[in-house]
């Protein structure tokens, strides 16, 4: 679904990503690589297949939209302990197969890893935030418009949109967008989410299967 923000067309993708054709930029938030491994180390069951599967999805998406740049909007990994040799390999393989540039905005979950960033991931440029006018990409949402002219794209929240009709309840991951900020859904397939309640100044876009609906 294409929407126009600050005179720029952007596409909200049902693959839980944002694409900005002007710059051929694909943005994904909250990948949480190594989440399964983090859980397993703590004696909690979670199948390992989800991480590689997510990277496969990402590769397919990059191919589909023909992105030249990929920006990770924070929480690339779930925890530093979960970044096992296997996880390092999986992501470095994705990096080597992608010919474009890669930037990683560091999120709160990345803090531990940022201090000992794997050699194999050197291609991914790390940063606190990325500004490409008229947008500013960062991990954590802002409470209000800090700079009047800037529109913020953020992650962190994993917004879930609740639809209820009688006893029928569905929770859909989605985008929540207001006048100055847009929140991306989490890209990870093993991330939960937080229910966001509808506010009058917000638009909500829910993802159901391979379609996206404004709700």
């Amino acid at each position: 679904m294409r929407i126009r923000i600050r005179n720029e067309w952007v596409a909200l993708l049902p693959e839980r990503a944002l694409f900005w054709p002007t710059h051929s930029l694909l943005v994904v938030a909250d990948c949480h690589l190594g989440k399964a491994e983090t859980f397993q180390q703590q004696g909690l069951w979670l199948p390992s297949q989800s991480g590689p599967q997510d990277l496969k999805r990402l590769a397919a998406l990059v191919f589909k939209v023909d992105a030249q740049h990929v920006l990770f909007l924070g929480d690339l990994v779930h925890s530093s302990s979960g970044v096992t040799t296997a996880v390092v390999m999986e992501f470095s393989q994705w990096l080597s197969e992608f010919s474009g540039s890669v930037q990683v905005v560091l999120g709160n979950h990345d803090a531990g890893l940022a201090r000992r960033w794997p050699q194999e991931w050197a291609k991914a440029e790390r940063c606190e935030q990325v500004r490409i006018e008229p947008f500013l990409f960062r991990h954590q949402p802002v409470d209000g418009p800090l700079e009047a002219d800037t529109f913020y794209w953020v992650g962190h929240v994993h917004p879930m949109i609740q639809l209820a009709q009688g006893p029928d309840r569905v929770r859909l991951p989605g985008f929540v967008i207001n006048d100055w900020q847009g929140v991306l859904p989490a890209f990870s397939s093993v991330s939960g989410g937080y229910d966001v309640s509808l506010r009058p100044d917000e638009r909500r876009f829910g993802i159901a299967g391979d379609r996206i609906y404004e709700l």
Partner: protein, 853 residues
Amino acid sequence: MSSSAKVLRGIQRLNRMGSPRPRRDAEEHRRARRNAWPTLSHEEAWKEWNGWFERQGWSPFPFQVEVWQAFEAGRSGLVAVPTGSGKTYAAVGGPLLSLIACPTAGHQPALTILYITPLKALARDIAQAIQRPLDELGWPIDVDLRTGDTTATARRKFKERLPHVLVTTPESLAILLSDPGWEDCMHGVQAIILDEWHELMGTKRGSLLELTLARFRAVAAGARVWALSATIANLEEAASVAVGSGRDPTIIRADIPRHIRIHCLLPESIQRCPWFGYSGLSLLPEVVKQIDPGQSTLLFTNTRSHAERWYQAILEAKPEWSNVMALHHGSLDQDERQRVEDGIKSGTLRLVVATSSLDLGVDFPPVQNVIQIGSAKSIARAVQRAGRAFHRPGEDTFVQLCPTNVMEILEASALRQGMQDGVLEERTPLNKPLDVLVQCLLNASFNEGFDPTDLSRDVRSAVSFRTVTDDEWSWALGFIRSGGALSSYPEFRKVEVLDGRYRFVSSEMARRHKMNIGTILSDSGVTVQVRGGARLGMIDETFVAKLRPGDVIQFGGRTVQFLQLRDMTAYVKPARQRSPVAAVWSGTILPLSVQLSFYLRREVDRLRQAVEGLDQQSPEIEALLPIAHLQSSRSRIPSAAQILIETCRTAEGHHLFVYTWEGWSVNEGLGHLAAYRLARLRPNTIAVSATNYGFELLSTEPLGSEREITQALTAFDGLENDIHASQNFPELARRAFREIARVAGLIYQGTPAARKTARHLQMSASLLFDVFREYEPSHPLLAQAFRDVNERQLQIDRLRGLMRRMGEQELLIVPIPRLTPFAFPLYVERIKSRLSTEKLEQRVARLQREVFR
């Protein structure tokens, strides 16, 4: 809160506690015992014990003597007697006598009698009941209790020395078995008493207790097991599950004749009784008329929310009763419940509105008046509740039933017939639930851990798990060690194998699992607390999520204003204004039992005969005649050998109403199955709604020919596949998986404070369900979720039985011009989810007038 306020609250709490605390008595006895362990011969002990009974003005019932003798003869077994007939003394008498007559017991104090009760609220009462004769006889036997409420200090004391008699819950027992060296402390146990066994068996708590006891019996080889059960049909099975396989249980029944009379409250005009509804409040005036504050009255409702609403409604009708009336349900704070229970005992409270929290064996004097709001939906449950009235063996019991809708008037009559025939429901033990097996393995992994060969033998000595296959066993072992179902995960760390023994990898893992012991499924509860004041109880997180600060609700019989939610506590303050909103807890409507269904169908037949002028008079049938005539003129009333199906077309679409009287979960299952099969024949959108009496299909296109409908309802071909493919199955499985995830320790639990610091380990069971379905679709725990849905929710055997009956009986397919009284509740059930309660009640009243016109 200031420290003086804290002290004050502490004192208030102490004051509320009332009668002597068993623990203090135990202390005194410990001191006394050092000096004098009596040298009583076996005969002398018997004489003293009987003497105590005589001094109470009792003579032991024959069944009590029988149990004492059977215990002494080394037997295990089950005692089946109605509630409140002296089960506790029947169970402990034998073991206490053996203990006191054992000359060496005084020198080597050790745990001898283990008393397990399903409700921690009961533990204190039981300990006191056991203590009483001991005090009065001067027998220096220690009695103590350990439940989830036991303080850390007291728990540490247990590590040093256990009492002779320990009253505990299944979960606390499992936790005791995680202490290092428990085997040495407990190998001398002579008696294990399982109270309210009918409540436990058939639940996952019961399955887990079976496994815990299997481990326990392997250590305490001399222990005899005695289960105490109320009213159920399959006592032999219950007994063998209780004592474990390879033992031949003795069953002792008390033939205490107890006649229960059911009186159904009937409104003067049947118009006043709604055709749909669960609360019954429209008959408030009739109910209030039955309450005399000079007499003690218990008013049972089927849900906590209804208890709240009834309490408010009676208070509004009779404000002068506010001092003698109280509310009691499982979500109230323990202090509050205790105050109510003490109030009943001391007689200061005359009217208590309660849910099943008072169903079980809380020991209090007979109430003169028991009123049940709504049908109990099962004969055994009705008998159990009746047990609260005239709590003295041998006396007549009188119960009043307030119907919440017209069909429940018929149910009252069906209940009476069932009771007269002496029919009761069964409780079926679960068949080797794998999530419980996983928890048992983890429970055995503390300290030195377990040897798989030994544990395998113990597990298979539990009746419900004796058919665990070698494959299932090695899967479970592999699952706790490497986390893999199909593959193993090298990062997984929970249990390791050292010298052939399975044990937790670290004390952190052990500590975490300890918090996870127990299988009771509770929604993540939020504590309700007055700001700067008392805790009121617990409320569902989902309900709190819907509240906004400033909202006023009824909780625990008070009106409070919601302030804020912080750290899993909902802070409230007292509010002046009244609120129509009572707190709502998640829970389901009780399905009709198989046995009651049978009698209900017979009552429907009697209604038909009454309409045809055959003599079938009873107060209930007579009251229902106007409605029966309407039903009969617009449609038919089926005989016991017929199934009525009504069809009609409205602006909404094509309706099909099917009346089975089989309980809503089976109706829902059959409804979705039929909808799936009909929609497969030709594209159609079909909505399904179900009640205890039948189900409705509503579709945009015509549903199909009579033959197709009959086929959809009765064909056994591809039954299981069709059920799994039907619309609501995945949703049901997802819900079942929530419980499995908790029982098997798949999700991180722990205290709210710990949850906060471990946020990165949070995972909802629902998401986990999706992850498993995607990456490990053949996972045994997923299969367990499907099995749980089939067996416990859809009751697939009952569904098959219904389909077979439909195939054999005559299906009356009747086109109806307008809604009939039978169709009305189904119609409302569907629309009610779209409306708020208030709007619904108005709309129902209007609809009812229209239909009756």
